[in-house]
């Protein structure tokens, strides 16, 4: 059963035609990796799903309902959390304030779900450690942890993350992989754009590979990981 499906999605940005009919399925409860070379259209696909760029043709369905024409807040309100490549951290706000903003049901920090917060702190200890610090002063890895923590501060059906390992040290990447593995185990459906192949191989259940604005391969991550010839053909390298 697919939670999210894209059928023939086209996206134009100004005069540029970026997505040329993307077909993508994200199965419920699984972690789907979206791979591809730079400029393949991965980030544009995520932004189009979130309504940040409008699909010029095609259909996007979430939980069976058409969300193609929905505005971004509506899409988020349906239960989709998004972590952009830039992380989208509000640098002048504290870590606590960043989290409070994402907790739409809470007006004050004390109204946030304490049990869920403790679970998030166990996944990302830096969030608790720097709770009252300005988010802008965190390191790159800590900001990435905050970005993901913020996305899951309330239960969401789908978590969309754009390159969480970008620019991070190997030790931090391993922490991230552990955190995503736990998130996956908790039942959250995840769509992850990633360039780090190790990251993809260790976490992915299913995979879609993009090139020139279309999905050129879709299947199980394991099958791609075991097929070196296909890896070379699709990605220009072996996993």
């Amino acid at each position: 059963m697919n939670l999210l499906t894209l059928q023939g999605v086209h996206t134009h940005i100004g005069a540029y035609h970026i997505l040329h009919g993307v077909d993508l399925a994200v199965p419920r409860g699984q972690l789907t990796m979206l791979l591809g070379r730079n400029g393949a259209g991965k980030t544009t696909t995520l932004r189009t799903i979130m309504g940040l760029w409008r699909a010029s043709a095609g259909r996007i369905a979430f939980g069976g309902e058409d969300i193609t024409r929905d505005a971004t807040p509506q899409i988020a309100g349906r239960g989709i959390a998004y972590v952009p490549e830039s992380m989208g951290i509000f640098a002048d706000l504290t870590v606590k304030e960043n989290m409070l903003l994402a907790a739409r049901g809470a007006r004050h920090a004390r109204q946030m779900d304490e049990k869920r917060l403790q679970w998030i702190f166990s996944l990302f200890p830096a969030v608790e450690k720097f709770w009252n610090h300005p988010a802008g002063k965190l390191s790159g890895g800590q900001k990435q942890m905050l970005a993901v923590a913020r996305a899951i501060v309330e239960p969401r059906e789908l978590l969309i993350v754009d390159e969480p390992s970008k620019g991070l040290a190997p030790a931090i990447i391993n922490n991230m992989i552990d955190a995503f593995a736990q998130l996956k185990a908790s039942g959250v459906t995840i769509l992850l754009v990633e360039q780090n192949i190790n990251f993809a191989r260790r976490l992915g259940d299913t995979v879609a590979v993009m090139d020139n604005g279309v999905v050129v391969h879709a299947g199980s991550m394991q099958a791609l990981a075991e097929n070196e010839e296909l890896q070379h053909e699709l990605l220009g390298l072996a996993l």
Partner: protein
């Protein structure tokens, strides 16, 4: 606001400027008079500018029509205070306040309501295009001024201070006008309410977050357009309040009064850092002090002293004293 993390240097500029000027003024009483007058003027300018800093910072809208709400607030005050002559003629400050407070409230309500229409019909079609924003909001201001002339007439209208706010107080040897103290109190209340709202409430958090990254706020599920409209209305209402204060300060109002202070407001915003309320306060106080000191010491330089101040600040901090992360 975390006091440990707070950057005190820009705030320290205000007393520093006062201390640097002291030897040039010479007389302690004159210096004190000029300083309090400058701070009072700064507080009024802050009230006017505070709304625009939110509109500019959050919505990225260059609203050159902000001045029309200042004029509107002042003209509404002439009508309200004119109808409450019994209260304004009283020597009791409390009875005066019973007239001034309703004037402030009505001016804010009218300016806020007109602000909603201004956002809907003039600003909304040009979101994201600065050149069009400048042109159309200046056009909006011209239309607004003409409508004010239609309602209240084209001539200057006196807006005398209520009886209890006239005159002066003696602080040692320094002469301080009573109304300037009232302006300081009103400005401090506006600043406190704004700061509390921005730092202690969820709506304030949303505004501060929206100033930094509107797209991310939407991705978290909030309709930033609704927030924009609310902030625009509040910004216009604050301009209306500023118009009441400015009109009483000048003791007369003309339809072009908003346009006259527009440049001053933009200087304050640029000095303070776009979108920063504390920055707007510091910028306004510096501008108020500078205008009073140079007006006394070097009258010929008074006209461009604030431009010099802005240049000096921008050489130190090119994004303004309390630049927000974008």
């Amino acid at each position: 606001m975390n006091l440990k993390e707070f950057d005190w240097k820009p705030l320290a500029l205000v007393p520093l400027l006062a201390v640097i000027v002291f030897p040039f003024v010479g007389s302690t009483s004159t210096w004190l008079t000029l300083t309090i007058a400058g701070l009072a003027m700064g507080m009024i300018v802050f009230i006017i500018a505070s709304g625009l800093t939110l509109v500019f910072g959050l919505m990225d809208v260059l609203n050159f029509g902000h001045g029309v709400f200042i004029a509107l607030g002042a003209f509404v005050a002439t009508s309200v205070l004119g109808a409450m002559g019994d209260y304004t003629a009283s020597a009791s400050l409390w009875r005066n306040m019973l007239a001034v407070l309703p004037a402030m409230v009505v001016a804010m309500l009218v300016a806020g309501a007109i602000g909603l229409a201004f956002e809907r019909f003039i600003v909304r079609p040009v979101y994201g295009n600065h050149l069009k924003q400048i042109l159309i909001t200046m056009g909006g201001m011209i239309i607004g001024e003409e409508l004010i002339k239609v309602i209240w007439g084209p001539l200057q209208i006196p807006l005398p201070l209520p009886e209890g706010m006239r005159g002066t107080l003696l602080l040692g040897d320094a002469v301080v006008e009573k109304y300037r103290l009232v302006a300081v109190v009103v400005g401090a209340i506006v600043f406190a309410v704004l700061l509390w709202t921005l730092t202690r409430t969820k709506i304030g958090l949303l505004i501060r977050a929206g100033v930094q990254d509107r797209e991310m706020v939407e991705s978290l599920g909030y309709r930033i357009r609704v927030l924009f409209v609310g902030v625009f209305a509040v910004g216009s209402a604050l301009a209306g309040l500023g118009g009441v204060m400015w009109g009483l300060y000048q003791q007369s109002v003309i339809p072009q009064m908003g346009a006259q202070v527009n440049v001053l407001i933009f200087i304050v915003l640029i000095i303070g850092g776009l979108g920063s309320t504390t920055g707007a306060l510091v910028g306004a106080l510096l501008v108020g002090l500078m205008a009073n000191y140079t007006g006394f010491l070097v009258p010929k330089a008074a006209l461009f002293s604030n431009i010099l101040l802005m240049m000096a600040i921008l050489l130190w901090r090119p994004q303004g004293v309390y630049a927000l992360s974008k």
